[in-house]
């Protein structure tokens, strides 16, 4: 069995064998002995890698899983090796796309910092959202021209709710 595993911009192929009842992984040409035991405590596993002990949480998320280890959740995509082939044949469409600034958490939209038609630079503040008693400035990642304000000021917003739509400069 083989999988194509991606963590951020790094991908690796993992292949499984069994050798005399023991599970052996081929990780990019490296031989690793692993034991993976689901604990009674939900989606939590004890992972032994060549004898080293790790405790990890594995929770499904999107196209893969979030692996929590040492307090951090690492998003890992797990795909079939065939998909790698398919993707390499696909051409990634060029040209800048627009940008949507979403509420990162549930809270109160205190105010917009921009109006429709404004030119916004990358990193510029577009809205203020208050949550957990703190006011947070939301900034545009790439910038562009404000094409739409999608919520009303003083309204409650939910996590991921789109607040500002930007179209690319000159589009």
């Amino acid at each position: 069995m083989r999988f194509w595993v991606t963590l951020e911009d790094h991908s690796a192929e993992v292949e499984f064998h069994t050798e005399g009842g023991r599970l052996v992984l081929d990780l990019e040409g490296r031989r690793v002995e692993a034991d993976f035991l689901r604990l009674p405590d939900g989606e939590v596993y004890s992972l032994l890698v060549d004898g080293r002990s790790y405790e990890v949480g594995v929770a499904p998320s999107g196209d893969g899983v979030d692996v929590s280890y040492h307090g951090a959740a690492l998003p890992v995509e797990v795909r079939h090796p065939l998909e790698k082939l398919l993707q390499s044949q696909k051409h990634v469409g060029g040209g800048a796309a627009g940008e949507t600034v979403n509420a990162p958490m549930p809270g109160l939209l205190v105010a917009y910092r921009v109006k429709v038609g404004d030119h916004v630079a990358a990193g510029q503040s577009v809205a203020v959202v208050e949550a957990m008693k703190m006011q947070n400035e939301l900034t545009a990642r790439r910038g562009g021209v404000v094409s739409e304000l999608l919520a009303s000021e003083k309204a409650s917003v939910s996590a991921g709710q789109p607040l500002v739509r930007l179209k690319p400069e000159g589009a």
Binding site: L7, A34, V67, H80
Partner: protein
């Protein structure tokens, strides 16, 4: 004064839990109040009694003065412990308690009023002859006036809400061009958080340390100094990690520091537990900042080195009794560090995170204390602050405490919301932190979100775990193990799994 038997805790989260623990040990009745989303909160579960005070938003429940007082009267509370935040530094609330015949566990309303107003507090320090940071004489009423004061003080300046505290309602302004945006944000925050939009200016000292004095004052006029706490590691003026003793304070400085704190306390006739905050510059000179008229979030570090229970002392003082140690406070022993475990994402500019605690396991073992307000399955409400737990460690000296902190952070499992355990691990392992070279600019100087990227080992563990998990899933749903036809079926083991979670 009538003895205190029944204590209502006008708070929630870890501090309500912490107060309940002392009440239980003192064999007093603990009475919790809760908002609708807090019905299943830990403080409700642990208290002897619990009563609803309204819907989620603070102003409709924990900050609903009439409702809280009415509840306290109805359930025959003898005293109210305000914790920190909410009504802890609200003179009107303290007055309402007195009017209802309930003891407020804290200073007199007049003291809260005098010190809660940062401008009046500066006047008190001036009268006590304690040095303070240069600033505007009173509130400034317009951006134009603020700009003029700032020009006189010299940039950068600190814009502060007169009614602010706990790091809320405060912004550094580095240049005139930033003033207008900072002005409206600070005023907005001040108005919404404190209902008072008066703002003043102070000169902003570069790279200062934040060091504070814990004091206890009883009704016989005794004021005890219980050592200092250094709280320099902050982001957006919010403390992240606190320790005692401060690595920057020499015994000679400590003596002067204690004297200044006690002088200010006596100047205002302070009663109960309080904290006098100072900033310490690079030459070791300290300047008065403000007085917090309440128990601080970081009080446990003082408890670990002194062996005192500050909540128990507070209750004794509120009953009119003396301090447990008479005239001689216990000599502090060893060092203690507290890490604030917050529901926020250090890799995304410390954005707050909400959600359900899916899994939690607190560190244990020698010298480790956890003050937490959450448990597995608890849904973090969006209405309150992001403090989930405080990990507090004790060691014979700072280095041993630091290693114990690292060890405890490694043990800490907290999943379901983004939290800053990894950040604290980075911090505690940093050579500058280990050397005790701290300042409030520590994060600006040393921290980048990229530093929290997973180590090579962690990345490999994640890749292996994900692949092993996928294999388990594949075997479990009994699909053909080889490639033929697997692609079309590939998606659905994952989907099945997420369906299961949703149920």
């Amino acid at each position: 004064m009538k003895p205190i038997r029944r204590v209502l805790i006008a708070n929630r989260g870890e501090i309500a839990v912490r107060v309940i623990r002392t009440l239980r040990e003192l064999d007093l009745t603990s009475i919790a109040i809760f908002s609708e989303p807090d019905r299943a909160a830990l403080h409700v579960l642990l208290a002897d009694e619990a009563y609803p005070v309204g819907p989620g938003p603070s102003r409709d429940s924990y900050l609903n003065l009439d409702r809280v007082i009415e509840t306290a009267v109805r359930v025959k509370a003898d005293a109210i412990h305000p914790g920190y935040g909410f009504f802890a530094e609200n003179a009107e609330f303290a007055r309402a308690c007195a009017a209802a015949g309930i003891a407020f566990i804290g200073p007199a309303p007049e003291t809260i009023e005098a010190l809660g107003d940062k401008l009046a507090a500066r006047a008190a320090a001036r009268a006590a002859g304690v040095a303070m940071v240069p600033g505007s004489d009173g509130p400034v009423s317009s951006v134009r006036e603020a700009a003029a004061v700032a020009e006189k003080l010299g940039w950068p300046v600190l814009l502060k809400a007169a009614a602010g505290g706990g790091g809320k309602g405060m912004r550094v302004v580095r240049a005139a061009s930033e003033l207008e945006a900072a002005w409206s944000l600070t005023r907005g925050e001040a108005a919404s958080a404190f209902g008072d939009d008066r703002v003043y200016l102070e000169r902003y000292l570069e790279r200062p340390r934040h060091v504070e004095a814990q004091i206890l004052a009883d009704s016989a006029g005794r004021v005890a100094f219980l050592g200092e706490r250094e709280c320099s590691v902050q982001r957006r003026h919010q403390k992240l990690l606190e320790e005692t003793p401060s690595p920057a304070i020499t015994p000679a400085t400590r003596a002067r520091f204690a004297e200044a704190a006690i002088r200010i306390a006596k100047q205002v006739g302070y009663l109960n537990a309080g904290t006098v905050e100072f900033i310490l510059d690079e030459r070791g000179e300290f300047f008065f900042l403000e007085v917090n008229t309440r128990l601080q979030v970081e009080h446990p570090v003082t408890e670990l080195v002194t062996g005192l229970d500050l909540v128990a002392e507070q209750i004794a003082i509120a009953e009119g009794g003396p301090l447990s140690f008479g005239d001689s406070p216990p000599a502090p022993r060893g060092a203690a560090i507290e890490a604030r475990i917050l529901a926020e994402d250090p890799s995304r500019n410390f954005l707050p995170s909400v959600g359900r605690i899916e899994r939690v396991r607190f560190p244990q073992g020698p010298g480790v204390r956890n003050d937490a307000g959450v448990y597995r399955g608890f849904e973090i409400p969006i209405y309150y602050d992001s403090l989930l737990a405080k990990l507090v460690v004790w060691g014979e000296d700072r280095e041993r405490a630091r290693r114990r902190l690292l060890r405890s952070l490694d043990e800490f499992v907290l999943e379901g919301v983004k939290q800053n355990i990894g950040f604290h691990r980075w911090l505690a392992a940093h050579p500058e932190f280990a050397a005790g070279r701290l300042s409030t600019s520590f994060l600006d100087e040393h921290f980048q979100p990229g530093l929290l990227a997973p180590s090579h080992e962690a990345a490999e563990v994640a890749v292996l775990a994900a692949a092993l998990h996928a294999r388990d899933e594949r075997l479990r749903v009994n699909l053909p193990a080889e490639d033929g036809g697997a692609r079309s079926a590939w998606k659905w083991p994952m989907r099945r799994k997420s369906d299961r979670r949703r149920r």
